[in-house]
C-alpha cells in the first residue's frame, strides 16, 4: 500500500466562536492516491473551496489532520508548510493566476526558482512540464499572447512542474468555452494518469465526469460519493467498444 498523496482526517473548519460560529466543514475524510482525480461537487457555500484551501495548506483547519505525502501539516511551522507547498502541490484556478510580466516558461518555473533551483535545471523541468501540456512551442510567449485555454494549460504545467504531484484545481474550466474546457480537462487527466493526483472542485457535471471518484458536499459534510470502478458498458443501448 503506497502512501496517499493527500489525506484529510476528520477535518473541520469553523469560523467565529460560540453562538455566532459558522461551521464551514465538518468530519471530512478524504484520500487522494497517485493516478487519481477526485471531483468535489456541491452547491455554492457547501464548503468546496474551503476544503481545497485546507488541502493545500493555505488555511489551517480548526480540527482534524491534513497529511500531504505522509507529512502532517500540523507538525510544520508556517515556513515548512510554504516549502512543502512549493515542492509538492500546485493550484489551478478559474482565472489562471499567471504573472503577466513573466513568460509561460518563467511562470512554470517560478515555484522551482523560489525553492532555490538553479536556472538551467529549472528551465529544463519547465520545458518538460510545458511539453506535457503540448505547449512548449509557446514557452517564450507572455500570458497576454496566449488564449484562455493555453493559459490554463500553462497553469497546469506550473502545478506539476519538477517534483510536484498534487494538483488542486478550483473550477479550472469556469472561464473557458465548452470545447476548450474539454481540452483542458483532457490535459489535466493526462497529467494525473502520468503519476500525479488531484482534487477538482467543480459544479459542472461534465467536468466532474473526468474524475475517478466524485464526492458531494452539502453544508460542509461529505454526503455521498461515487466509487472508483471500471466502466462495463460505454454507450446507452449498445454501441461499439473502444
Amino acid at each position: 500500500m503506497t502512501t496517499p498523496l493527500l489525506r484529510l482526517d476528520g477535518v473541520a473548519m469553523q469560523y467565529g466562536k460560540g453562538e455566532a460560529s459558522v461551521t464551514a466543514l465538518s468530519g471530512i475524510d478524504l484520500e487522494v492516491n497517485v493516478g487519481e482525480l477526485v471531483a468535489v461537487m456541491g452547491a455554492s457555500g457547501s464548503g468546496k473551496s474551503t476544503l481545497l484551501t485546507i488541502a493545500g495548506g493555505l488555511t489551517t483547519p480548526t480540527a482534524g489532520e491534513v497529511v500531504v505525502g505522509g507529512t502532517y501539516l500540523s507538525t510544520l511551522p508556517a515556513k515548512g508548510i510554504a516549502q512543502l507547498r512549493r515542492r509538492t502541490l500546485g493550484f489551478v484556478f478559474q482565472d489562471f493566476n499567471l504573472v503577466p510580466s513573466l513568460t509561460a516558461l518563467e511562470n512554470v518555473t517560478l515555484p522551482l526558482e523560489l525553492d532555490g533551483w538553479r536556472g538551467v535545471k529549472a528551465r529544463s523541468a519547465g520545458h518538460d512540464a510545458l511539453r506535457a501540456v503540448e505547449l512548449d512551442e509557446r514557452a517564450d510567449a507572455y500570458p497576454d499572447d496566449l488564449s484562455g485555454g493555453q493559459q490554463q494549460r500553462v497553469a497546469i504545467a506550473r502545478a506539476v512542474v519538477g517534483p510536484r504531484r498534487l494538483i488542486l484545481a478550483d473550477e479550472p474550466t469556469g472561464a473557458l468555452d465548452s470545447t476548450t474546457g474539454e481540452l483542458v480537462m483532457r490535459m489535466l487527466r493526462r497529467r494525473i494518469d502520468a503519476g500525479a493526483g488531484g482534487i477538482l472542485v467543480t459544479h459542472d457535471p461534465r467536468h466532474a465526469a473526468w474524475a475517478d471518484r466524485i464526492v458531494f458536499l452539502r453544508d460542509g459534510r461529505i454526503t455521498d460519493g461515487t466509487r472508483r470502478e471500471t466502466p462495463e458498458q460505454l454507450l446507452v443501448g449498445g454501441g461499439r467498444h473502444v
Binding site: 457535471p205 461534465r206 466524485i214 455521498d224 461515487t226 466502466p231 454507450l235 454501441g239
Partner: protein
C-alpha cells in the same frame, strides 16, 4: 423518423442492397442503434411505395439494389434543411417518478434525487472515458461516433442540472411548508377522460 431519413440520405450517395445499407448505417452511428435486416427491408418497401426509392435489378448473387429517385433526393434535402421535431409531451420516466414521489408519505425526495444523480454521474463518467479513448477523430466514422457520444453526454449533463434545480425547488418548498404527502382524494373521480389535459 430519423432511421428512414438516414437510410434515404445514405442511398443519396449511391444504390445499396439491404445488408449493405445496414452496414453503412452502423458505420455512421457506431452501432449505437442496431437495425435488423427485416427493419431495413420494411423501410425500403415503404420508401419504394412512397416513390422515394426504386428497386433495381438483382445482381448475380441475387442482391436487389435500391436507388434513390428525384423525389427521394428532394426529401433528403428537405430533411437536412429542417429541424427535427421533438415529440410533444414525451413521457419522461424520471420526471414522472419525481413528481409522484413528491406526493408520497415517508419518501425522502432528496434521497430519490441523489440516487439518480449518482447513477447519471456514473454514466456521464463512462461516456467521458469513451470519448477520451478516441481523443481526436481520425476518420469520418470517429467524428460521427463522437458526435453521438457528445449528444449523450449533454443529455446526461442536462439531467444532472435539472436534478440540481429540482433539489433547490424541493428545499424552497420544504421551507415554505408546501412539500408533503398528497392524501388520496375521498371524492370518487368521474368516469371518462379528464376534463382538460395538461399541455406542455
Amino acid at each position: 423518423m430519423s432511421v428512414r431519413q438516414s437510410l434515404l440520405a445514405i442511398l443519396d450517395q449511391g444504390p445499396c442492397y439491404g445488408y449493405q445499407l445496414r452496414a453503412e448505417f452502423d458505420r455512421r452511428t457506431g452501432g449505437t442503434w442496431p437495425l435488423n435486416v427485416g427493419q431495413i427491408y420494411q423501410t425500403l418497401e415503404r420508401l419504394e411505395r412512397d416513390g422515394l426509392v426504386a428497386k433495381g435489378e438483382s445482381d448475380r448473387e441475387g442482391r436487389a439494389y435500391y436507388e434513390i429517385t428525384d423525389a427521394g433526393h428532394e426529401a433528403v434535402s428537405s430533411w437536412l434543411s429542417s429541424p427535427v421535431e421533438r415529440q410533444a409531451a414525451a413521457r419522461d420516466e424520471l420526471a414522472i417518478k419525481l413528481a409522484v414521489a413528491a406526493t408520497l408519505p415517508g419518501v425522502e425526495l432528496a434521497d430519490v434525487i441523489q440516487v439518480q444523480r449518482r447513477a447519471t454521474l456514473a454514466l456521464l463518467r463512462d461516456l467521458t472515458r469513451t470519448k477520451d479513448a478516441i481523443d481526436e477523430p481520425t476518420s469520418p466514422e470517429d467524428l460521427a461516433y463522437l458526435l453521438l457520444v457528445d449528444a449523450q453526454i449533454f443529455q446526461a449533463d442536462g439531467e444532472l442540472r435539472w436534478l440540481d434545480h429540482a433539489e433547490g425547488r424541493l428545499a424552497r418548498a420544504v421551507a415554505a411548508g408546501v412539500a408533503g404527502p398528497l392524501p388520496l382524494n375521498t371524492e370518487v373521480p368521474k368516469r371518462g377522460r379528464p376534463a382538460k389535459a395538461v399541455q406542455p
